[in-house]
Every structure is written in structure tokens, then in C-alpha cells.
Amino acid sequence: MIVIFGVFLLTLLVITAIAIVRTDNLFVAVMLMGIASLLIAGNFFLLDAADVALTEAAVGAGISTVLFLSALALTSERERAKSSNKVLSLTVVAAAALILIYATFDKPRFGDPQAPVQTHVAPWYLEKTPEYIDIPNVVTAVLGSFRGYDTLGEVFVVFTAGIGVLFLLGSGVPLGSLPREKINEGLRHHLIPRVVGRVLIPFILLFGLYVQFHGEYGPGGGFQAGAIIAAAIILFALLEGERRALSVLPERVLLGLMAFGPLLYGAVGVAGIVLGGNFLDYSVLSSDPVKGQQLGILLIEAGVGVTVTGVLLGIFHAFAARGR
């Protein structure tokens, strides 16, 4: 039965995707992307990926809509040109789709426990996590410890993307030099959203912290928590105007946060070397190897969370500042 739910959601997803490509109104396309994100998160949940669904929820529901809309506000809302070489592109795409579908017939069936993916390293992770790290969430264990190098790389990619956006867009005109009426006051005159939003923001922040520190026991971790906390502060900026948001978390602090995460992550790795282990080997951080692993994961998750918050907020402010 659950398989059929998944099939239904996926069918809706395909319909949404076609609608996204067909519409020439970019605002509508962004709205439909929101729906696609909800559908795909639902699917991830059905496919047993609670952590991934939580990430998609944290990123897709708020932040990506906000970013696309601020880009649309700076560019244009309508697609003007007709598609180029429609027939040719459609032929290429259809041919490639057919080849891909033909290739799927060699794939192991959905959910097959004997598929090569399931037999290679995954059983080892599932078996050894209680022994080496002793935390319930295997995803966090793999993310933080077994594949720590990968995650370090990803954190650097996020950091680089953030730096790139800041280089491209800069931070715009400094707020102090602007005449008063030019400063974006946000939705201050909309009383009801403002009151409700104010009630909500502390809870979102609290939930973000819960996701950050509960990540070893349930779905969660630095990536999700960073996105959720950034979402809370973006909500504040939308409601109270950017100036208030920037006085809470000034740009210098944001830059510091962006750099602090990778530094903390790297420092934990170097600490491993100094204490006589390998890079990113947390076992030596404490006298008890298991405790050391747990401590290491806690620290690097904190680093990840800080970077993601800093980068997403930095990007948001860079786009918002460009509108002035």
C-alpha cells in the first residue's frame, strides 16, 4: 500500500515538473517548485530517509523560495523569449529518456535487499556504529565520523559558494548612508503576520537547536539545524525589516560565522593529529575512544551548523542589499 502512495506522489511530482517547464511566468514556476519540494520530501520520508526529508523541509519550504523570489525581484518575472529549437531539444531529451528507461531494466528491483548497494559497505556501517560510536542515528555517524572527509569537503563547498555570492553581489550600499524612505521596512505595517511571526521565531530557533543537538538520536544534525536557524532569522528580517535583522547579526558577525565552521571542523581534525591519531580520527579526543567519537561528532556538527547558518544568511542579505 505504501508503495502505491509513493507512486502517486511521484506521479504528482512529474506533473508538477512538466507544469514548471511549461509556464512562462517565473513567479508561478517558483511557486510550483515549492510544491515539488514538498512532494519530494514526502517521497524521501516514504523511502525511509527521515534525515534527508528533514533537510529538504528545512531548505525547500522556506529558504529556496525566498532566494528565488529575491532574485526574481531583481530581474524579471516573465520569460520573454520562445524556446530555441524546440523540436530538436525535445527529440534529444526524449531519446535520452528512452535510453535511461531502457537502462533501468538492468537495475535491481525497488527495495531488493540483495542489490549491490545494500551488500557492500552499508551492513558494515550498521553493524559497527553501535560498537565504535554508540549513537542511535547511523546517518549522523556516517556523516560525522566514517565519512568525515566527505562532509569536510561539502562544508568547504558551501563556504565557497557563500564567499562567491558575496564577491558577486557585494554587500551593496551601507545602510547608514541611505535616506530613510529607501530602507526596506519589511512587513512592519502588516500587524497580524508580524504578531504571529514574533511568537513563532523563538520556537523556530528552539527547534533549530533541538535538531542540532538531537541529531545523534533522531533525524537532524548540523545541515538541517543551520537551515532552520537561518530560516528563523530570515523570517525576522522579512517581518521587521533588514536593518533590525542586521543589527541583531551584523555582517561582520555573519562573515565570522561562515569562516568559523570550516575552521572548527579543521581544528577538530588537526587535534586528532596532535593527540596522536589520524586527521579527523576522533577516537583520541578522549581517553575512551567511543566518548571521543561522540565528542568529535558533536563538535563537527556544530561547525557544520554554524557555517550553514552563516552562508545562508549571508546570501539572503547579499540579495536583499542588491535591491536598494
Partner: protein, 117 residues
């Protein structure tokens, strides 16, 4: 159920190609980025689908014995990829915004025309 056994992969292929179509056929740069996001979503779907095990549950121990767990590894890869995806999309949007400021347009062929002049 045999027919449904590959449905997720078919949706992956179709979704991937819908995103790809937006990237190659559309001339609006924001639309191309939206297409790229769809493309990304399709890849995420492929990975997560591969990690699913029949009768399994999410790989988070909950004190129950003899439970089958789905594969944690694809989930780790995709979890980080989602956040990386949004930051790179933001970078792309940043480039589009700068192009609009310099060329006054976000349509690919108009930018090319201005360049050729």
C-alpha cells in the same frame, strides 16, 4: 508489484530529462536554474530510491530488535548535497542578477546579441 519495481527509476529518468529540457531549450537564465534544480531533485530521488530496503525503516536505532534498516550511505550523500545544491543555486542566481545589471536582460540570446555588437 513487479511493474512498480522500476517506477521510481522511470520517474527519475523522466524528471532528469524534464530538467535537462529546461536547461537546453529555455532561454531565460532563471528558468535554466529552475531546470537545474529539477535535475538535481531527480538525482536525489535516484540515490534515495537505491538505498531503500523492503520492509526496512530509517537507519536510526530505536531499541527494537531484528529490524531491517535502509542503507544510510546514500542518505548521507544526499543530505549534504541538498544544502550544497541550494548554495550553488544561490551562486547561479547571483551571477544572473549581475548579468541583468550589466546587460539589462536575463534572456540568453539578447545577452549574446549585445556581446556580438
Amino acid at each position: 508489484m513487479e511493474i512498480l519495481g522500476l517506477y521510481n527509476y522511470w520517474v527519475f529518468a523522466i524528471l532528469l530529462m524534464i530538467g535537462f529540457y529546461a536547461v537546453i531549450a529555455k532561454r531565460n537564465l532563471v528558468k535554466k536554474l529552475i531546470g537545474l534544480s529539477l535535475f538535481q531533485a531527480a538525482v536525489f530521488l535516484l540515490y534515495i530510491t537505491m538505498g531503500k530496503v523492503d520492509g526496512g525503516t530509517a537507519p536510526i536505532f530505536s531499541g527494537m530488535d531484528n529490524t531491517i534498516f535502509s542503507n544510510p550511505l546514500p542518505q548521507v550523500l544526499i543530505l549534504t548535497a541538498i544544502v550544497v545544491g541550494i548554495s550553488t543555486t544561490a551562486l547561479g542566481l547571483g551571477i544572473v542578477v549581475r548579468l541583468k545589471e550589466e546587460y539589462g536582460s536575463i534572456e540568453e540570446h539578447e545577452i549574446q546579441e549585445i556581446d556580438e555588437q
